[in-house]
């Protein structure tokens, strides 16, 4: 074929953003270590699942929140280039600041039809210590915040499931509670690969088809 009208071709971008709780309570009972280990297992699984979906370019970035919120990985990073630097836990649970930081970033993304709806995964083990309601509303007021696929994993019995449910704001996507390291890996991997394995135009189903793994209630 001699001709190829137009400029360069490219797959459609899909942004994955993780909001990770790094408050002091995460340091107890090995929770932060379990989270770091889970991410090291989840990313290769996402890469593998994404092979079945070559037309989508998956970018990951990470916000950590404790006392305040900051970008742990600020640049949208392709799965192939993703390298993990361990998180450390200390301080408060300023979830509101994490929402605010994300809302600000999302408001900068233009309404580009090429972009697939982003996925935001929130993982937390406690109750927010700042005013999170206004910040969540601000996030939902931004077009890409509202259209994002929002999912949450509650670590242990002290996690504020009600807040996480308000963030997810979708009856079809229940908040997943995990009580040990194995469950965290299983559910985090499920949530993340469901997005990379699913062709655009279809929404991933939220309820895990895998049975709840057996294990002790550590957290």
């Amino acid at each position: 074929m001699a001709v190829r009208p137009g400029g360069e071709y490219a797959g459609r971008p899909l942004h994955v953003i993780w909001l990770l709780d790094c408050s002091g309570s995460m340091a107890i009972m090995g929770k932060i270590e379990a989270l770091n280990n889970a991410i090291r297992e989840v990313v290769p699984a996402m890469r593998k699942a994404a092979e079945g979906n070559p037309e989508v370019q998956f970018y990951v970035r990470v916000i950590r929140f404790s006392t305040g919120a900051t970008w742990h990985i600020a640049q949208p990073t392709l799965l192939s280039d993703f390298k993990w630097v361990d998180l450390h836990a200390e301080g408060e649970t300023d979830l509101g600041q994490a929402f605010a930081l994300l809302a600000e970033e999302m408001s900068k993304i233009p309404a580009d039809a090429r972009m697939l709806p982003p996925q935001i995964v929130l993982i937390s083990d406690g109750k927010p210590t700042d005013d999170w309601k206004g910040a969540l509303q601000a996030l939902l007021n931004v077009p890409w915040g509202r259209r994002a696929v929002r999912q949450a994993i509650a670590i242990g019995q002290d996690a504020d499931q009600e807040t996480l449910r308000k963030f997810v704001d979708n009856a079809e996507k229940p908040v997943l509670r995990v009580d040990n390291a194995e469950q965290l890996v299983r559910y985090f991997r499920y949530v993340s690969t469901s997005v990379t394995a699913t062709a655009p135009g279809k929404e991933p189903t939220a309820v895990p088809s895998v049975p709840m793994p057996a294990g002790d209630e550590m957290w």
Partner: protein
Amino acid sequence: MSWKVAHACIRGSSHRRSGLPNQDAVQCTVTPGTQATVAVAVVSDGHGSPRHFRSQVGSSLAVSTGAGILQGFLRDSMAGNSPVPFVPEQVHELERKIVSGWLTAVLSDLGNNPFTETELAALEKEDGAAGRAEVENAPELAYGATLLAAAATDKVVLYLQLGDGEILSVNAKGTTTRPLPPDDRLIGNQTTSLCQPEAWKDFRSAWVTDEALPSLILLSTDGYANSFRSDEDFLKIGQDYLEIIRQQGIDSLAEELPAILTEATQQGSGDDITLAIMQEDFAAVGETKVPRPLMTPASKSALIEQLKARHSSQQQKLQELAVRVEETRKDNRRLRNTLLLVVAAAIAIVVGVFRNRIFPHGPTPTPVAPTLGNAPTAPTPKKPVSAHPPGHKQPVTEWTLLVGGHAISLGRGSKIPTPFIHPGAKPDKDPDAYAKVATETDNGPLFLINYSKDDKWTASTGQRIGYGSEMKLGEKPVAITFAKGITGNLTPVAEAAPAADPPQ
């Protein structure tokens, strides 16, 4: 001058992998006519998510319905040969007609091929019981699709779009623009659709005439634009296709299109891709394109003033004529009454004179109504022809019927398709409408007439409307029970505010 068309529609690479069919559709026609050759290109993208499991049929019905209706519309508009081919209200009416035509076609397909348990079970597996219930309640969802269309003659190009996708207009220099305004709702795999309630309200439309006619029009489903790295990369196709067509001709390009689009889906979006191209073809009648002098703003406003003046003088003449007609009518009535009096008096005299001679003692005869040609002997109770003096509230001429989750627009001559109001109707066997809106006189009140042999309707006013009977359409909302379990709400539509000028 004429138009040439080319198109291709290919299955997306991700659809191949996941086993989804090609859910796009396209139809292009060039029809020579007595007034003008009409070229129409329509593309449609059936939605990909599970609840739109018949969207490949929906898109195919969208292009066939759209192409037929657009062709008729443009042919009729051109017959008037006026400098401005149509007004916004006509285009809005056209949009409603396309949506209602698509819905009728969808229901007809559904009548022939009801949902199978396999289809519904597959949906339930993906979308849960709620998803299944939603589709069972509004089956047109299963057929959800977008619609993009361009219809052109040598004088005008009309663009219509409902949902995502791209229409590009390319001028002789290769400058590529979007003739329609953007729709901010179309991000993140979301789109407006033919299957949504009151879908016609989501249409975007525009038209251009004469010197603004493009050299090339490109219509594509979103799979094409989404295959490029950026908007600039995509817009470049305008200039590139123009050059290719100038070098090798549109027929030769048409052969290469499937390969071009297949490469795009593989290296880009993975989605189905459809592209329709319309090329202004001056060579068709052996003429070369002579650029028409562009109108200066001054001469344009002068022309507008001239048209306005002509319009107002015509209005004045019409009013004068109306006054004269009314005076003539009055004269006629006076004359008729006088004649009637004279005849009645003459008959009375004749009867008075001859009665005693013929029936000196006989019974009183039954009076025979005198006749005088065709003139009525007594004023026949005719339904009044409503006159609308200036300032009088305009009568309602349009109603919306909400029935079974559908909104059907009713106006003079509208018909309600059978499946909407008759349970178990088989549209293929009885394509006729079971109801229609009609009138006795050109500007008299409108009636909804029952043509359903099997149903007796009941209105919320208590009126019962049997087969062949009618209900006057008024200014108040009314509910009508068409059959057991099928009730519709009929609401008058307030006169629409003048539509804004189409965006350029």
